[in-house]
């Protein structure tokens, strides 16, 4: 049953009808673009939500014009209520983590470029691939629908801790229908990503063209492959977890709700559920999810850096092994989210060591990047700027991991803005920079037109400086003991920190506005940009040896054969300082790994 479309996959006819071409398309390239569009819309929603949150945090009783239109009870007269703040916060986190950081770098670019980079015509199971997108789309719609249905979205945060997620509306607005919708949405999302992982893994293992050994895959392809393996494991655990919560809601079971809980003076009709069970199930998904968001970025950035450096990384293998190590270790470290959760203090130590150890592969990756720059001939453009910015962000967000990896320090920093700063920098901003770099780098191939370089650089400068202005202060707030997930800071202790919050708010508004430049650039270039050549960056991997934009079967019925390692730069060849993977030309090089 699972290969019903395998045959069609390898020789499916060119699409004719509009529906087949653009809506329910089987073409991995169209699906990739669809994912990208979804991520773009989601990112804008998430950004607007973060604006409102920031305004509320800076000026708590200020009326945000128009907000009352979104929810009359949530924001009477535009003044945000505490629960509405939490509802927006939950949606911001959920949208960004699931529908932006997972879909854009992995599903969007992976779908478009993985098959091309391995030299395949398409994914082996195009129908599953199509379902994968449309299921994800429905998941997004279900999530957004909670804005208008019932008493609004859930306020439980993107981690949806039990039993707050399971006791129902008695726990507050959005905890009834809102949670159920959230769980349904995420369960659907899991299905979509599992279908995607199925395609990614089989594509990488089985559809490589002649000569494309695993070690000859570009780093981006490796990143997508490793990510899909992580996703396969993580999402197939989150899915059942969501089912259990839904059962607690609609069927009255007690998986997560303990005995003798009293809300609003009402004894809850549940017994014996385990609070920590949810945390274990969730974080077993949740921490790998962080790497699902960042590993594609690592691969993409390496891919782009090499092209702009005009020389390969110091070692392709080491980078691949490091990404693999991150993937494997990520399952052994999830407990560091639960140091003070009441789990066995010995297991806290057991989780602490792998968490510290995981910094080693991360450090190696950074060292390889930085020292590969030595002796390079770096071509500065929007793509490479964002790639370098990614490294800077990855470092800044990474070092704070040293703190949070230690249970003793976590006593002070847990649930403070330090944590918020940490993951926003390392998995939020860094991953976003990866997405931007990829967009500036690959947009010519995807849409056949170059993006505007000037606008790209303006976008980069505002984003780079802006995000530092936003997220570095988060760390300071955290060290001063500013708790996260507070809708306002009424207590005397936090009053002195309000000016910092206002600064951050201003920075956030400006940086957010800068992203609109990107959106404009993307849309404008899509239609009126200057047409792109087949290989504008003088790059070597297979996506550049086909037409721009690629034909429906990627290589026009001719199959490339791979003669070289992916990154043959800094050599003397007939075309210049590089040799394409698919060109049989023999050049003197010491890079080939036999």
């Amino acid at each position: 049953m699972h290969d019903m479309s395998a045959h069609a996959a390898q020789h499916h006819a060119p699409p004719t009808s509009f529906i087949r071409k653009y809506v329910f398309s089987l073409d991995h390239k169209v699906i990739g673009k669809q994912y990208y569009g979804l991520a773009l819309v989601a990112a804008l929603c998430g950004m607007v939500l973060s604006w409102m949150m920031r305004i509320h945090l800076g000026w708590t009783n200020a009326a945000i014009p128009g907000l009352q239109l979104l929810s009359k009870t949530g924001a009477p007269g535009g003044v945000m209520t505490p629960e509405y703040y939490l509802q927006l916060m939950t949606m911001h986190g959920t949208i960004m983590v699931f529908f932006v950081l997972t879909t854009a770098p992995f599903a969007a670019f992976g779908n478009f470029f993985l098959p091309i980079q391995v030299g395949a015509e398409d994914m082996p199971f195009p129908r599953f691939n199509m379902m994968s997108f449309w299921v994800t789309f429905v998941a997004f719609v279900v999530l957004m629908s909670s804005f208008v249905l019932g008493d609004g979205p859930t306020l439980g945060g993107w981690t949806q801790y039990a039993p707050l997620n399971a006791v129902g509306s008695v726990a507050g607005p959005g905890q009834g229908l809102g949670v159920v919708l959230w769980m349904i949405s995420i369960a659907l999302f899991c299905v979509g990503q599992l279908l995607g992982a199925l395609n990614f893994i089989t594509t990488t293992l089985d559809l490589r063209v002649k000569g494309m050994s695993l070690m000859r895959l570009p780093l981006s392809a490796w990143a997508w492959f490793i990510t899909s393996c992580m996703g396969l494991t993580a999402f197939s655990v989150l899915f059942p977890a969501c089912i259990l919560v839904i059962l607690d809601h609609v069927a009255g079971t007690s998986f997560f709700v303990a005995s003798n809980l009293v809300l609003n003076d009402q004894l809850q009709p549940h017994s014996g559920g385990s609070t920590l069970l949810w945390q274990h199930l969730f974080w077993f998904f949740g921490h790998p999810e962080v790497y699902i968001a960042i590993v594609p970025g690592i691969g993409i950035v390496s891919h782009i850096l090499i092209t702009s450096m005009r020389k390969p990384m110091l070692s392709q293998r080491v980078l691949i092994y490091c990404m693999g190590a991150l993937a494997v270790l990520s399952y052994g470290v999830y407990g560091h989210h639960m140091f003070v959760s009441g789990m066995n203090p010995f297991s806290a130590l057991a989780f602490s060591f792998p968490t510290l150890v995981i910094t080693i592969p991360a450090t190696i990756v950074v060292l390889i990047w930085v020292f590969s720059l030595y002796g390079a001939n770096l071509r500065i453009n929007s793509a490479s700027l964002f790639a370098l910015g990614f490294i800077s962000m990855f470092v800044s967000g990474g070092v704070s991991g040293f703190f949070l990896a230690q249970p003793s320090i976590d006593i002070m920093l847990h649930a403070t803005y330090f944590v918020v700063g940490h993951f926003h920098m390392v998995m939020g901003v860094a991953a976003m920079f990866g997405i931007f770099a990829a967009t500036y780098f690959w947009a010519p191939k995807m849409f056949g037109r170059m993006m505007n370089e000037t606008l790209g650089r303006i976008h980069f400068w505002l984003s780079f400086v802006g995000t530092y202005c936003i997220f570095m202060p988060f760390h300071y707030l955290g060290m001063a003991g500013n708790i996260r997930r507070y809708s306002s800071f009424p207590d005397d202790y936090l009053q002195p920190l309000i000016p910092v919050h206002r600064l951050i708010t201003v920075a956030a508004l400006i940086t957010g506005a800068a992203q609109l430049i990107f959106v404009y650039n993307l849309i404008h270039s899509r239609f009126w940009g200057k047409p792109a050549t087949d290989n504008p960056w003088e790059a070597t991997s297979l996506e550049w040896s086909t037409a721009t934009p690629p034909p429906w079967d990627n290589f026009g019925g001719k199959y490339p054969v791979v003669y070289h390692d992916p990154y043959q730069y800094g050599v003397k060849s007939s075309v210049g300082d590089y040799v394409m993977q698919a060109s049989p030309e023999q050049v003197k090089t010491d890079h080939d790994e036999k």
Binding site: P163, V167, T275, L385, S396, M479, A480
Partner: protein
């Protein structure tokens, strides 16, 4: 452009480091017997992470400065050290750092979590509910009355579901909305969650622990400085989370006894 970028990175790195070096924003002064371990661990980590941060950003900036836009026929060089050198360096440096932090970290952690409270520790029960903490002292008889969740009625201030009518133990229990403890006396805090997950965090005490619904956990600590401190909830517990707090009063022994008398009178 590239050189400008390099300079920007360096400026940002330095600006980021300044507030740390000038201790502009730091945790409030520690008032616990175990806190110094955490603080030492913190500053140690800060030093190592800080060096790593600055070094990485600087090298990145310098290389960007040196090796950008060198013209089409620039000679491409390879880093002499090679990958293996870097890997070994990373393994040694980070490995050592990780081991050091990990091992010392255990001490700070163990002091609070792996050692049982001393026999003489004073038991206090704290119950977290949406959205306030309530505290219970056993009273003269030294025993806590049994709790009956079905009797909980916040309207009549019966937050713990006590049943004084039938349960003599509970009649002298002292229930308060503020926490008072004698200075330099070990406290054994019995933590109970009434509804959903909450957390007990006192910055000055260097204490943070989640309440687990259905599972009563306990903490022990000793305060060494008289004063008024803030207890906050750090686990998202619902719409009032931002406003869920109570105050901790550390009193001298006699002040504490007076406080107990006062509270007893109000029960």
């Amino acid at each position: 452009m590239a050189k400008f970028f390099a300079v920007t990175i360096i400026i940002i790195a330095i600006l980021s480091a300044i507030p740390i070096l000038r201790h502009t924003w730091v945790a409030p002064e520690d008032i616990s017997t175990h806190g110094y371990l955490i603080d030492e661990q913190m500053s140690e980590t800060m030093a190592e992470a800080g060096i790593a941060f600055l070094a990485a950003q600087f090298i990145l900036a310098i290389f960007i400065w040196m090796f950008s836009n060198r013209g089409r026929d620039a000679k491409i060089k390879k880093f002499p050290g090679g990958a293996t050198g870097l890997v070994i360096a990373a393994l040694l440096l980070v490995g050592a750092e990780v081991l050091a932090l990990g091992v010392f970290g255990v001490k700070a952690w163990a002091d609070q979590y792996l050692t049982p409270p001393s026999a003489g520790a004073m038991p206090i029960q704290v119950q977290a509910g949406q959205f306030a903490f309530y505290f219970r002292y056993p009273g003269p008889d030294g025993t806590f009355g049994a709790t009956h969740p079905e009797l909980i009625n916040e309207g009549s201030q019966n937050f713990f579901g006590l049943d004084p009518e039938h349960d003599p133990d509970s009649r002298d229990d002292i229930v308060t909305a503020e926490m008072a403890i004698p200075v330099n006396k070990e406290i054994h805090l019995l933590m109970h969650a009434k509804d959903v997950g909450h957390s007990f965090f006192v910055r000055e005490l260097r204490v943070q622990q989640d309440f687990v619904p259905g599972l009563d956990v306990s903490l022990h600590f000793t305060a060494t400085k008289v004063g008024k401190y803030e207890i906050v909830c750090t686990q998202l517990c619902g719409l009032g989370h931002y406003n869920m707090k109570a105050y901790l009063y550390v009193y001298s022994q006699e002040d504490f006894e007076n406080w107990v008398k006062k509270e007893q009178a109000m029960q």
